[in-house]
């Protein structure tokens, strides 16, 4: 974007350099301050697995793992991710070997249209790392930030319940 002036003393808006480890790869780029992490991923890095649902932190479709923790990419400024380690849905599998949570979602048919699925899976991986979900009710409560308009909740819950032990065994891998 070219410089914008709002008055005599106005400074031009400038891009800021950021460095990130994105899906185990180091990247470096310049971002405008008002670019969200979600828009950076989808529009500039062509990583469209992370979905834009509500764009207001209400649906969870944009959930990614920032420094290992699940966050809403739509409410995160890219410029504030300088130095961060980021994992998106594209970074969960090792080559052709799917992440245990991905395998469980397929096994349990834990989606219908699939739009919320990348966010559900990233959120579930974050849930496993937090180690706070010990029963079905806790899984449901701690997945409340991810909406599924198709209503595949029961299968999502079953998939997560099955995959949690395997995810915990993987520990801090991803």
């Amino acid at each position: 974007m070219s410089a914008t002036h709002t008055g005599a003393a106005a400074k031009p808006f400038v891009s800021h350099p950021i460095r990130m480890t994105l899906n185990r790869r180091d990247i470096q780029m310049d971002v405008l301050p008002w670019t969200t992490l979600l828009d950076l991923l989808r529009e500039q890095l062509d990583l469209t697995g992370t979905k834009k649902g509500c764009d207001h932190g209400q649906c969870g479709a944009c959930t990614v793992l920032l420094n290992g923790k699940r966050v809403n990419a739509c409410l995160t400024l890219a410029v504030m991710c300088d130095g961060a380690e980021l994992t998106t849905i594209e970074g969960l599998a090792s080559g052709e070997d799917l992440h245990p949570m991905q395998k469980a979602f397929i096994k349990h048919d834990a989606f219908q249209c699939g739009y919320c699925t990348p966010g559900q899976i990233c959120s579930a991986v974050g849930l496993a790392r937090e180690g706070r979900a010990h029963d079905t009710a806790q899984i449901q409560e701690l997945m409340s930030g991810n909406l599924c308009r198709c209503g595949a909740y029961n299968n999502i819950r079953d998939a997560i319940e099955e995959a949690l032990p395997a995810c915990r065994a993987q520990g801090g891998e991803q």
Binding site: D55, G57, R70, M80, R132
Partner: protein, 329 residues
Amino acid sequence: MNPFHYSKPVDVQEAVHLVSPASRFIAGGTNLLDLMKENISRPEHLIDITGLPLRDVEETTEGGLMIGALVSNADLAWHPLIEQRYPLLSQAILAGASPQLRNMASTGGNLLQRTRCYYFYDAAVPCNKREPGSGCPARVGLNRIHAILGASDQCVATHPSDMCVALAALDARVHVQGRGGARVIEFADFHRLPGDAPQRDNQLADDELITAIELPADHLAAHSHYLKIRDRASYAFALVSVAAALALEGDVIVDARLALGGVAHKPWRDRAVEAALIGQSVSRETFSSAAEALLQDAEPLEHNGFKIKLARRAIIRALSDAAVAGATS
């Protein structure tokens, strides 16, 4: 979002010296960026405070805790010392938002959430909080979620936080720093009632930054309970919430705290009601009298009269649950 400048100071002094009338601090950004996307907030300069050294939870010499303003809501709720000594605070935090938002949102930022009044969030309609003097459509409009206590002709909005309801009950103190120096604000004084200046949610000066929240030594952990009533089982703002804490000798109440969320422009406490509980025995009648007294000045709007009955029942239930609660319940 409108374009803005961005700075990332490395210490608190630098941060407060960067402040201008058109700047805002940003930490978790979970509320501010949402407001910017809705064009409700239009800062020209964001000051990113996430590089400041405000991430510790430390024990104070008085036996309390000092919580850095940048500790995330999730880290605070699950901090061993909070779970152990202030379970009310853990419960309240975990009753709010979603796991993702709790990972992002900061302790200081939680205090600065703006109201979720639909009219405040709609830039196409008047709102005294958004544009002072423009009017309040909520008073005569859809006001099911609005205030029943402490409202004014100008504003009937409620404060959305759960965490703040527990902090109010726990007599927290807010440590802030501005260009002129540091000061400490009692939690009860931090948020404002709307009066004729609903645009001001709290007592912070423009150049002041919240640096820490201090909790006094606790004697209420054994008997506390946070009860939140909302339209769905999870991830919704409170219609009514109650933070209740008791200190008991046998079944006699020797100290009592009662704070309500979802009912006013700030977490609502009534010291006279708490004082009247002291010396009473634990019973449904005792708690029912407290609820009646706390709500005696409640004023319903067209659609939120149910909140008075709901609050009465929630107070009785929260106090009853607190009376039997163990430290880990």
